[in-house]
Symmetry: C2
């Protein structure tokens, strides 16, 4: 991640508050010990019409990947745990609307490192489910471990 | 308008770049000399679910009005010319994606003061129509003065 100025950090916090997303997905995947892959994301969105200028914004972050969705929306995604942590530490002090999501994300990443058994993982899943309340997802399905 | 810090200005620029709108509407209105009212707007959007925290963002600006649309989206609108000018002078240096809209807005507000005849107003309308190219509006109607 690049060294950027405090106003650039504040700009990115405003951008994320306006049109960004901070969340963790639980993907069912039997290759993982507890049946789920824990996938954290920070995503910035923009219309594909402004791709060239949007790349300037993304270049301030410089640790994600850009993709164009079929509906014409550009998504710039930060998906690696180390990058997410340093990005949130950088913009965290300037976040207003998504401050709770950022704090929850950091808590989840911390707990994830400490998971030692099925009960720990169940607690982690409960934390991850809290994003639904913060992010007004339409999916109200609560995740459950198979017994 | 309040005195705010440079990181607060940069935050607001990021918010506007992420999920804000800068444009001028031409409203047909026979009470006006050339048949149109020129209405400039800067709008910040947010889900109504986060109304309380969104008000914190709005309080940094402190010169607009908040309304809730029927679809549940909150709009904070800056509509007075003097406020728009000082707001854009404040956040302008930090804008990236909507820099062109901000410059076009300031140019239009300047030209509007100097309108002296129908030809001047026609040129002003042409400038206003340029927002369509920048803001990817679905309405492609070009405004025309009645002869």
């Amino acid at each position: 991640m690049l060294k950027i100025s405090s106003t650039q950090k504040a700009y990115l916090a405003g951008f994320i508050d306006g049109d960004g997303s901070i969340y963790v997905r639980l993907k069912p995947n039997d290759d993982y010990r507890y049946g789920f892959q824990v996938s954290p994301y920070i995503i910035l969105f923009q219309s594909a019409k402004d791709e060239e200028i949007f790349k300037k914004v993304c270049s301030l972050i410089n640790c994600g990947y850009l993709r164009k969705r079929k509906d014409g929306i550009l998504e710039y995604t930060i998906g690696r745990v180390a990058d997410i942590k340093s990005f949130l530490e950088m913009i965290g002090p300037y976040l207003i609307l998504k401050k709770r999501q950022a704090d929850l994300m950091l808590k989840i990443l911390e707990k994830k490192e400490l998971v030692d058994n099925k009960n720990d993982f169940k607690k982690l899943m409960d934390l991850i489910d809290k994003f639904r309340d913060l992010n007004y997802s339409k999916k109200r399905k609560k995740h459950k471990l198979t017994p």
